[in-house]
């Protein structure tokens, strides 16, 4: 009887370990932003590009939807997404905030002069500290927030046409 119990326990343990390994191996080991969706962004402090004033969540909250785009003139994919941002500029319910990330100001201004400025407000993040507050780990990245500063979606990489349609759909709801 005891031998049967031991055999059964070993069998259960093997099955359990196999299950743990199966779940562990099939789990996505890349950084995912799904945990950030639905979370409120707090402690926002963005430095304005021109006059280096502090822009806080009170200033941001004035709009129904906010898209914060992190970009730099040295970033190739940022050029790819730029036409999408220019199209989004036309949306009335959306306020576009651009955060220039670890860049030289003169290069950033030249970038906007050549490609157009889609941003309602422009900010400067010289050493990337402000970006950490939005869970940014590379550029381009964009965060769509509602007026309560809750993350609706985070876009990693350049914005695509499908992202544009998605944002349009959300802000028209």
């Amino acid at each position: 009887m005891q031998k049967k119990i031991i055999k059964f326990t070993i069998f259960i343990l093997i099955i359990f370990l196999m299950g743990v390994f199966f779940i562990g191996l099939s789990k996505d080991t890349f950084y995912s932003t799904k945990d950030l969706v639905g979370k409120k962004i707090t402690g926002i402090e963005l430095i304005t590009f021109n006059d280096e004033k502090i822009f806080t969540e009170i200033d941001i909250k004035k709009n129904k939807f906010i898209l914060i785009n992190f970009w730099a003139s040295w970033c190739g994919p940022c050029k790819i997404e730029h036409p999408i941002l220019l199209k989004l500029q036309e949306e009335k319910n959306l306020r576009l905030l651009g955060v220039n990330f670890k860049d030289k100001k003169e290069n950033a201004l030249l970038f906007l002069k050549n490609l157009g400025n889609p941003y309602n407000n422009l900010f400067y993040d010289k050493i990337g500290k402000s970006a950490v507050n939005f869970g940014i780990y590379g550029i381009p990245e964009s965060v769509l927030l509602n007026k309560d500063l809750i993350v609706i979606k985070k876009f990693i990489g350049p914005l695509s046409n499908s992202d544009f349609e998605y944002i349009k759909g959300v802000i028209k709801r």
Binding site: Q2, I6, Y31, D35, L36, K129, N133, Y137, G138
Partner: protein, 121 residues
């Protein structure tokens, strides 16, 4: 006079201790436990990437501001999710994983006791 000296001593002792506690956080220990999200299998301590450099600045600033180690981890987990730490905290999703060694230890112990008892008879 004697009383005043004692009060000054207590104040200085307390102040020194509380200050020592604040500066005793070793940022390298925190860097070692943080995953570089854009690197392959490297911690923030090992990496020299832009991301790792920014995280190092943020952690150092938080230490300077008087944040505790837990507060720093909580902040980064809040921003980047549990994935950023190598040693995740105990939660309902990893409860089994944390408890498994103890369960195996107890079940194994019971099994050994049962086997030994069986041999005696």
């Amino acid at each position: 006079m004697k009383k005043t000296s004692i009060y000054i001593f207590i104040f200085l002792f307390y102040f020194n201790n509380s200050f020592a506690e604040k500066v005793s956080i070793d940022p390298n220990n925190i860097f070692k436990n943080l995953r570089c999200l854009i690197c392959q299998g490297q911690s923030v301590a090992d990496s020299n990437s832009e991301f790792a450099q920014t995280i190092k600045i943020v952690v150092n600033d938080k230490i300077q501001d008087g944040s505790s180690e837990k507060e720093i981890y909580d902040f980064l987990i809040d921003k980047y999710g549990e994935w950023i730490v190598y040693k995740p905290s105990l939660n309902k999703e990893n409860l089994i994983l944390w408890m498994l060694p103890y369960v195996i230890f107890i079940v194994g112990g019971i099994m050994i006791i049962m086997m030994l008892k069986n041999r005696r008879y």
